[in-house]
Symmetry: C2
Subunit: 432 residues, 2 copies
């Protein structure tokens, strides 16, 4: 009986796994050097946890399940609700600021498309407990530190920034009611992904007044922070949000990543829970989906039954990122090569047992070592050693009558005789 993999999931054969490990190890390394600590939660949570405040878009995309006790559960489509739950649970003992990262496996029950799978990995970086825009800057820097590290330049990618706080004060000023904001954000977020007339139709459904619609479109056509700050009659909140945006760009310049960053009022983010700075990362050509995005979500922990604590962070998925790195020729060449330290070969079947013994001893001493199962002739074993990129080949042959082995350097081709005991004495001293 032959059963395929489920559509939209991936099998990670060793070469695919090497790519995935390289991506995720990079995320981890950059997170750590930016002072973030790693956490993770369970792969499934109570279904209602994802219904609290993630907006309808995500709840529609859940893989839900039921346990034997009849409890409704769901595979996590994002890790932020888990983060909120975990932080709330230990809020009194965790030193602040809480700087955490995670590389969770996530699942969404959506139709698979290019760069959008039903199972993926996402790098999440968050700072909790800091309302200063410096925390937004530090998380953004962390994302760009990684993207720069893997070779993406400012002419490859752009991080587009706006502010929900700004929209939340400017949209009411043109007559949009508070309760209309959520659905409007979701719609504005879709704007670049749907045809213009479809968008206008949907906008008309949400905002009946033509004059208001015109003003919304005018607002979304603003091209710089100055255009906003030049406006008369800005509310205090609007002014504050403009100041925050200015300070953010200044900090990103100080951090040396300003070239990657651009103000773009059309960045809104679909999820309901953002409250301040929001951003998304795109390829400059604009051919792919967003590489990642994030922003400030100051109310989320409270909505999850915790205290009133500010928070900001981002997520970057592995799918679009890998497509872009592949397109730019940055992926394959950066993958680390597997290089066993030793390949233990033997000239005759009678030495197989000795080869097994030496291989086991090398491994126990911490070296990567292989040997051939089949008593093939020596030149075939050497070919095998070479195919595996082994650094050295140990050859057990006639010299073994004197407890001697041939050690061949696979790079230079040089061979030398060495006593069995010396080999391990040397290994031990190298480890010391």
């Amino acid at each position: 009986m032959k059963i395929p993999a489920v559509k939209g999931t991936r099998d990670f054969y060793p070469p695919d796994m090497a790519r995935r490990n390289w991506l995720i190890d990079g995320w981890k390394r950059v997170s750590l050097r930016n002072g973030f600590e790693e956490y993770d939660g369970p792969i499934f949570e109570y279904l209602k946890m994802f219904q609290i405040k993630s907006g309808d878009e995500i709840v529609e995309q859940l893989f839900s399940l039921r346990d034997r006790g009849g409890r409704d559960l769901a595979i996590r489509p994002e890790i932020t609700p888990t983060l909120a739950r975990m932080v709330n649970q230990q809020i009194n003992s965790l030193p602040r600021p809480i700087k955490w990262f995670s590389v969770p496996r996530l699942c969404r029950a959506e139709r698979p498309q290019k760069g959008r799978l039903r199972e993926f990995f996402q790098w999440n970086v968050d700072i909790i407990g800091v309302d200063d825009v410096l925390a937004d800057a530090e998380t953004i820097f962390c994302a760009l530190d990684y993207l720069q590290q893997v070779g993406l330049r400012p002419d490859d990618i752009v991080l587009k920034i706006s502010s929900r706080k700004m929209l939340a004060s400017l949209l009411p000023a043109i007559g949009i009611a508070e309760r209309e904001l959520g659905p409007l954000y979701a719609l504005l977020d879709k704007r670049s992904k749907i045809p213009g007339d479809a968008f206008e139709e949907m906008l008309a459904e949400q905002v009946a007044d033509e004059n208001k619609r015109k003003k919304i479109l005018e607002l979304m056509a603003v091209e710089s922070i100055e255009q906003i700050s030049d406006c008369l009659n800005l509310s205090d909140t609007a002014k504050e949000s403009v100041d925050e945006l200015r300070r953010l760009f200044e900090l990103l310049d100080v951090m040396g990543v300003g070239d990657y960053c651009l103000f773009d009022i059309n960045i809104v983010r679909g999820l309901a829970y953002y409250t301040g700075i929001v951003y998304e990362i795109y390829d400059r050509k604009g051919e792919l989906r967003a590489i990642g995005g994030g922003g400030r979500y100051d109310d989320l922990l409270k909505q999850f039954g915790g205290p009133d604590i500010p928070a900001t962070g981002f997520g970057i998925g592995d799918s679009v990122l890998a497509i872009l790195l592949e397109e730019k020729g940055l992926l394959q060449k950066q993958l680390p090569k597997a290089e066993p330290d030793f390949f233990v070969a033997y000239t005759d079947k009678e030495f197989l047992q000795k080869a097994i013994e030496i291989t086991a001893k090398l491994r126990r001493a911490g070296s990567a070592a292989n040997f051939s199962y089949k008593s093939a002739n020596l030149s075939r074993q050497l070919k095998q050693a070479s195919a595996q990129n082994a650094k050295k080949c140990i050859i057990i042959g006639d010299e073994f009558k004197n407890s001697e082995l041939v050690v061949k350097d696979m790079a230079t081709g040089k061979q030398q005789l060495i006593k069995l005991d010396e080999l391990f004495a040397k290994l031990k001293s190298e480890l010391r």
Copy 2:
């Protein structure tokens, strides 16, 4: 609204995550040095994949779900079916022997108990394409290489070995029909976990003939391979299985791990798919559940629609292993400490921006660096640096008028003045 985690799952706060990473990184490192390549599959598969040949025990413990297309899926409770599926898919292009490992996240919908959770990680190591018992020996060695590496000695743990092939020829010889073998294996596997009279009652239900039951119990009381080989009338298959066991123990001696290994006819394994050597690893005191187990499963790939290819491998979960390591005092002391290379402190708020700039530059140069968000006084920042185990502290103070910084070695307490440019020039040369 406060929502708890689902029972039987774990939250990995940074200290828990550090433990999990240490365990899993160790599994990976030892697998690689033993010549295995990493793979992984999706977190869910078609439900029917787990129904093929895993025995009823596992199918009862599935978390099943349904996608929008009405397809029945399940979160993987083990990765072996996925391995069989993946290998079958590329069987013609994969060079053999296929030596693969994986560290999958798995879920079982069972009642949580000590060392048995509903979500866990499992180290899986398999060799496909080799029928020689040498492959069984190499996988067993890999498991013991790791367990020895983390400090477990032969008086801490024992690897108990038997053979399904042997039972499959000895049990029919005392009158057990072929179709009765599967359920009998499952029952024998439970023997050590249930009270003696409950076991005998269940055995009587399966085997009506009292004489046969007596013979089964006599067989399961055998204490050495010799007791079997001394029997008259052994079938050829039985003799073969005894020879295999003997050769396996010889190879494990050659590999230097014989002290960990013991013949134990009571090791049967619950799953239906084993065909040859089977083994389980226990703490010597026998206080905990099995740390792991495995064996040969030569028919599985065929059952999954592939060719007739032999295979052998094991799984070791993280839960019982962590409990044992903790009990032996081996866990905490081996965890790597987080040690940022630099902590950037400043004597006055006016230098905060400079601290941000230098921290960002250090990180981009590949160093782990932190700074304080709050303009606390210097001694508090130094305390923070020390609490974080920072190796060096960079202090931005009055000397900065001359573009000079104080660099304090946190271990020795020594301070030196250094020009800003020199700091980064030095870093670059160290990286070269």
